[in-house]
């Protein structure tokens, strides 16, 4: 669109509106014109300043007071939440890092679990020890002979003991194990084992074998009972029979 401005100020072709607009464009210098110019100058200035400040400061600068208060509230509650989270996580980190205690305690707990597992018969065990074989061709060896042998092994420091019967039946022998005479053999914790009986005991093998072999000891007793005892030392014996872990029904640990 071209707004032509006739030299004489009397436009022929343009519409009257355009003529008036052209008149507006024509320079005039009265005091009120200067005032108008000043106002428009201020307007342009203010508009640009406002636009710039809006662009620069983003939302916050032009936000109203109550909005700012709300935003501040949101931010402070959020920062409070985050601070609590930081505290929690820092505490966790401290506990995980500071005392190598945590890792050490974990290792300790794991070690104790293994030790207790060996004692409770819930895990297999291996190590040096002796294998005591009691042959009983006549069926004369009674449970008390085996019990003597077991007591001797315990006295000599056996740490894990297993009693095997014919055909691979095996029972892990624990603190509460009972031995009873039974038809065709010996009843060990509810399992009937028949001869030949084999004790596998883990411990110091020379101590165990000498304890079994002392005069008037286990081997002599077995022979006197009509059986035949034989001791073999081994460097790597395996006690593989397991027991399910039984929760004590009545006894409870006393807290420290």
């Amino acid at each position: 669109m071209s707004t032509r401005e006739p030299a004489d100020g009397a436009p022929q072709r343009p519409a009257p509106g355009r003529g008036r607009l052209a008149r507006l464009l024509r320079p005039r210098l009265r005091r009120v014109d200067l005032l108008i110019a000043a106002l428009l100058l201020v307007l342009g200035f203010a508009a640009v300043v406002q636009v710039r400040s809006t662009q620069e400061d983003g939302v916050l600068a032009s936000a109203r007071q109550e909005d700012l208060v709300r935003i501040l509230d949101d931010l402070s509650s959020r920062s409070e939440r985050l601070r609590q989270e930081v505290t929690t996580l820092t505490g966790t980190r401290e506990r995980l890092l500071s005392d190598d205690g945590s890792a050490a305690a974990l290792d300790e707990a794991r070690r104790r679990t293994e030790v207790l597992g060996v004692l409770a018969g819930t895990v297999p065990a291996r190590g040096p020890g002796v294998r005591l074989t009691v042959d009983d061709p006549e069926g004369d060896v009674r449970a008390e002979v085996l019990l003597d042998a077991l007591q001797e092994l315990r006295d000599a420091g056996a740490e894990a003991v297993e009693l095997q019967g014919r055909g691979g039946d095996a029972v892990r022998v624990l603190a509460g194990t009972s031995l009873q005479d039974a038809e065709g053999g010996v009843l060990v914790d509810g399992v009937v084992l028949s001869a030949p009986y084999v004790f596998v005991a883990l411990g110091d093998s020379s101590t165990l074998s000498s304890a079994l072999g002392i005069p008037g000891g286990v081997l002599d007793t077995v022979e006197a009972a009509g059986g035949a005892g034989r001791v073999e030392e081994g460097e790597d014996l395996r006690v593989g029979a397991l027991r399910p872990l039984e929760e004590p029904r009545y006894a409870r640990p006393v807290p420290d």
Partner: protein, 110 residues
């Protein structure tokens, strides 16, 4: 002609000087600018209608700005500043639109 030059000069001045808006004026400046724009559009329309009057323009320009700022100020004091600002902008926006429509009819006959 001079008012347009003055407007352009004001824009250039604002770009060059880069002032920061005083925080006391921050809620009022945008409303004042919109009110002044309304006055300017009204003036152009009046010129096209042939009823433009310098004195009326000056008075309406200044009073528009002052009244708009006053309304926003009152709204802030009453706790409804945000809503009143919106209201003022809506009203002035409608006026600007109708003035622009009148100007368009004058210039394009449509």
């Amino acid at each position: 002609m001079i008012p347009f030059l003055a407007l352009v000069a004001g824009v250039v001045l604002g770009l060059v000087v880069e002032p920061t808006v005083p925080s006391a004026l921050q809620p009022y400046l945008p409303i004042a600018v919109v009110a002044a724009l309304d006055a300017v559009f009204g003036a152009v329309r009046a010129q096209l209608d042939g009823i433009f009057d310098d004195r009326v323009f000056v008075v309406s320009f200044v009073s528009n700005v002052l009244v708009a700022a006053l309304v926003v100020f009152l709204g802030d004091q009453l706790g409804v500043g945000g809503q009143l600002s919106t209201g003022v902008v809506v009203v002035l926006g409608i006026r600007i639109f109708s003035n622009a429509a009148a100007i368009r009819r004058h210039l394009f006959k449509a």
